[in-house]
């Protein structure tokens, strides 16, 4: 299991797939999240990702551990980039190897869905008109009672 948060461009996607593959795996799935040029009807120029580093790393490992316990998968790797990204940049790469593809597809999907729900990473969009805005997102963790 390899979970990493980086500030440099994610470039070696083939290497990531090689890294998780073992000879008993019949499927290697790679998911990449990439920065697109639009969101909610607005034209996006770039994104800025912020992270609570230690907790985000720990949460990524938790997610992969859970997925490894639930699915018949081999190795997994998640690399999330933070900082300033532009359209076309890979923000996250998730590689999953498994003996069979069903488990690999499910595991890959679960990892990205849980990442989006639970990992303390935030994105701020910059639009082509110059405005910047922190995106709303998911509320992770336990429910909180309202604070008086």
């Amino acid at each position: 299991m390899h979970c990493e948060i980086v500030t440099q461009p994610i470039t070696d996607l083939e290497g990531l797939m090689d890294r998780v593959r073992s000879d008993s795996d019949g499927a290697v799935i790679l998911f990449t999240g990439v920065v697109r040029n639009h969101d909610a009807g607005r034209s996006v120029e770039s994104l800025h990702y912020e992270v609570y580093m230690e907790m985000a790393r720990a949460k990524l490992l938790d997610i992969c551990r859970d997925v490894g316990a639930d699915e018949d998968v081999g190795d997994m790797a998640v690399v999330h980039r933070v900082g300033d990204l532009t359209v076309g940049d890979v923000s996250v790469a998730i590689a999953v190897a498994a003996p069979h593809r069903d488990a690999a597809y499910r595991a890959s999907r679960t990892i990205i869905e849980r990442l989006k729900q639970e990992v303390p990473i935030w994105k701020r969009e910059r639009y082509t008109d110059g405005e910047e805005k922190w995106l709303g997102g998911a509320s992770p963790g336990t429910p909180n009672t309202p604070i008086a």
Partner: protein, 79 residues
């Protein structure tokens, strides 16, 4: 007791700091801390906020201890 609070993203922008160390009475809860922070921030922190203590998500009734690190977590948007 001293407790460190961390702020990220939109909360950091609103509060104007990424970190605050605050003195709290022993036995204070996360909710107590949030109330203090909210007042310091002129109310610019939501009434219901997700928090993590020492990097685990917790409920606001959680009791704090000396040296705890409390992160105020805005809605997350990774990936």
């Amino acid at each position: 007791m001293k407790v460190k609070s961390l702020f990220f993203a939109v909360y950091r922008d609103r509060i104007g700091a990424d970190e605050l160390v605050l003195e709290l009475p022993d036995g204070s809860t996360v909710a107590d801390l949030a109330a203090v922070v909210r007042e310091r921030a002129g109310g610019r922190l939501p009434e219901v906020v997700v928090t993590a203590v020492n990097q685990e998500y917790v409920s606001s009734e959680t009791t704090l201890r000396e040296g705890d690190e409390v992160a105020f977590i805005p809605p997350v948007a990774g990936g």
